[in-house]
């Protein structure tokens, strides 16, 4: 195996060998379906909603859970000082960081796919029979991509700030603030809010039903690409810092 695949394998073992990280991944996976189920069973599914849009109602909670998990994965390396052992075993820093991002992203992809599927099944079983169409199932891919993106950002921020708690706070702010502080953004609002992961998923699920100031000007596909580009940019900044700083 190559140096990179060995490093990815090691990162997966890191997650598997700490119960808290395994439980965190499971909880992150359950966050979306359980929240969506809660919304649907409490009468939150409107007449115009589809099973897919109902399944996506817990997206923000899922985003927060996966982002916090990603931040914990990276932050715990610094909190417990295992980063020195990691660097002594994989001293080529780009390989170590890429492996960390790839492993966390892969777990988020599997967890996100399971979450989306489970969410649709739960909403289908909870909704009154024959009242709601399936909707666009491809939008569930967008949910998975959003979960992967926010997890990657969580890991990258964890590496940048070297603390689980602080990185979780930063990721939570990144998920929640664009919409909460939308009014302060002026002309940038549709660009920032429209490319934020929660809104990207809403655009995918609901199509053109969002207000103009929350819809990404270039369309849904570009909003999705912008979200992934932001995640890549944050990952690149963390790579730069990780390469330059002492371990």
């Amino acid at each position: 195996m190559s140096r990179f695949t060995d490093a990815v394998a090691a990162e997966l073992v890191k997650v598997r060998t700490v119960r808290g990280l395994v439980v965190g991944a499971v909880l992150a996976t359950l966050a979306l379906p359980l929240t969506s189920l809660l919304v649907v069973t409490s009468g939150g599914l409107g007449e115009q909603d589809t099973l897919t849009s109902g399944a996506a109602t817990g997206t923000v909670v899922g985003l927060l859970a996966f982002g916090a998990w990603g931040a914990s994965v990276a932050g715990s390396e610094y909190v417990h000082r295992t980063i020195t052992v990691s660097l002594a075993a994989v001293p080529h820093r780009p390989t170590l960081l890429l492996a960390k991002l790839a492993a966390a992203g892969a777990i988020a992809a599997v967890g996100g796919a399971a979450a989306a599927l489970l969410s649709v099944l739960l909403v289908h079983s909870a909704a009154p029979p024959h009242t709601h169409h399936l909707g666009n199932p491809w939008s569930l891919v967008g949910i998975v991509l959003a979960f992967v993106a926010v997890t990657v950002v969580g890991v990258a921020v964890g590496v940048l700030v070297r603390s689980s708690t602080a990185s979780i706070a930063v990721v939570a702010a990144a998920v929640l603030l664009p919409k909460a502080a939308a009014g302060l953004l002026g002309g940038l609002q549709p660009w920032v809010v429209g490319a934020s992961p929660g809104t990207v998923v809403t655009q995918l699920v609901h199509g053109g039903q969002l207000a103009d100031d929350q819809t990404f000007p270039g369309g849904t596909a570009l909003a999705l690409l912008s979200m992934l580009a932001v995640a890549t940019a944050v990952g690149s900044v963390s790579a730069l810092a990780f390469g330059r700083r002492d371990g």
Binding site: T17, V18, H80, T82, T84, L87, P91, R244, D246, G247
Partner: protein, 239 residues
Amino acid sequence: MPERSGSAIEVENASKVLDGVRVLDRVSFTAEPGRVTAFLGPNGAGKSTTLRAILGIDHLDSGRAVIGGRPFREHPQPLQVAGALLSPDAAHPARSTRGHLRILAASNGLSRTAVDRALELVGLRDLADLPAGQMSLGMKQRLGLATALIGDPAVVILDEPHNGLDTAAIRWLRGVLRSLADAGRTVLVSSHLMAEVELIADDVVVIDEGRIIAADTLERFLGISGSLEDRYLGELSSR
């Protein structure tokens, strides 16, 4: 201990400034294969920074630190080149001993046999499932040593490995270090236990305030002094 051709550690004019303080000032020395090199100095002298720089964990502002002629990060199988114990606390408290070592094995494509061999070597086989957070300092040092030796490396770097060890464990470690060097490996070890160092070291490097103030064979360094402790303290106080 199986025979292993060693690689020298070479540090040349290594300098580093941290928060405006020059922590390393043109540090130069060599640790040779087949020998135990003791790296001595008071707290804050620059020992740990030097060891971390050799492994590429800390960056140098100038100069170089190489193993086998190359920076450590350029070796394709790092754990087979150098293994290190830098801190006994560098293990996740919720992760088992075996889990900790399995990560290292996976990272360098080593088999699970390497994990069992390392556990056996440091006497932790029966405690393989114990989380690191429940270990005594002595056990953590053993785990750190297993971390250093899992790849059967040509170079072994140990930062104060005697801390927390009881008398029997110190004697055991003495035997391990001697056998590593006798098998051709390069052993670089920092310690404050002068009496212990005197028993195991072939060469001595002394650092103080970021500068190398002595580097010689133990025999020549001792000269006519009664003990390493006397000679070491004399060297420090003469500055």
